[in-house]
Amino acid sequence: MSEFSHGIELQFASVTLGGKPVLEDLTLRLTEARIGVLGRNGSGKTTLLRLMAGLIAPDRGQVRVDGVDPFRNRKATLAALGILFQNPDHQILFPTVEEELAFGLVQQGLTPEEAAGRVAALLVAEGRAHWAKVPVSTLSQGQRHYLCLMTVLLMQPRTILLDEPLAGLDLPTQARLARRFAALPQRLVTITHDPAVLAGADRVLWLEAGRIVADGPPGEVVPAFTAEMDLIGAQDADADLAG
């Protein structure tokens, strides 16, 4: 797809949080349609996603999404890229489904009437017209995840960043969401600690302590990652504090 021509670029990007280096000197060019970032808890995956989404700025180095600085140029970035947070409750801002869905569209410049029309059309197309007035607090965890995905899709970004998109969901919900992700025309960057999620990826990056330790097709990276995790699991890794 021609929209993928630019992709996400990092040049010597570093992020320090609370005086601690979390990402160090990352240089990357992501242009594939299905990209996975693998790493264990605390390796910096969420921070990398925030950096790519322009929610935070690098302390050093540069980040570009389809050619623009995602931290400074918010308008262009909102059209280029959407992000699905790990916890939908941290993403949802409004009490009802239709308000939640309409917000981003109005922020993109649609009138409230146009936004309401698009939201109604989407809910009908998804077979969920009855959701419009429903309080978000009455939706199940899986339904909230789904609502967040709808919110992002409505804004029609070219790339979607997914933070542990299947964690904490029951198996049928996981299967349904995974099928939905697989069918999306967008470029997807999926971060996860679970290698199984990345079976269909074009490229997998392994992040460890804020650095890329492996980068290649899943057939190469995943077995190496799994072997290393088994090794660490055999030791008492849980006693270490991430901070």
Binding site: R50, A53, G54, L55, R74, K75, L78, G82, I83, F85, D89, H90, Q91, I92, L93, F94, P95, T96, E99, A102, F103, G104, V106, Q107, P112, K133, P135, V136, S137, T151, M155
Partner: protein
Amino acid sequence: MLTPTSPVESPYSRWPAGVKLALVAGLGMVIGALSHVALLAMALALVWLTFLPVGRAEAARLPLRLRPLWPFILVIGGWHILRGTPDVGLAVILRMLIMVAAATLLLLTTRFDALLATFSTLFRPFERLGLPVERIALALAMAVRFIPVLSQRAADLALAWRARSARNPRHRLLTPLALSALDEAERSAEALRARSASV
């Protein structure tokens, strides 16, 4: 931020947000001019009556919604009793209750986007002075949305306390509540930034 309350469908829901805001402001001016305690008490009763079209349950819930104001009532009341002006204190307390009740009714029956649009229109004249109108309107509307979230959080914390302690938490929950409010604010700011260019 999962907001526990959602706009209730009622006759007021169809009124323009600007009209409701103007009515609340007008009410504020009227009761500001009143100092007679009996008249103010009547005004409070009237405001309470205006909850009825929203539903009896909402009207019955008003005292519960006003309950978090008790520290203010205590301080204002105490101060005026000490100064020997209990009438003045009672009037101030009544005015506060009236305004909070009216604002509650406004929030209960007004959607966020309508509130946001009204704030934007209200501040539009200041745009020429270089004021970031969209931003201020968004901040105000978000602050208003935050109120029910905070009271829900306070209730959740009290539950978590009770699950592990037989004693009454009272002020001990203030610190965790403040910290959790800061957390919530930070997360909401990030969620806003992910979808809005004006933050």
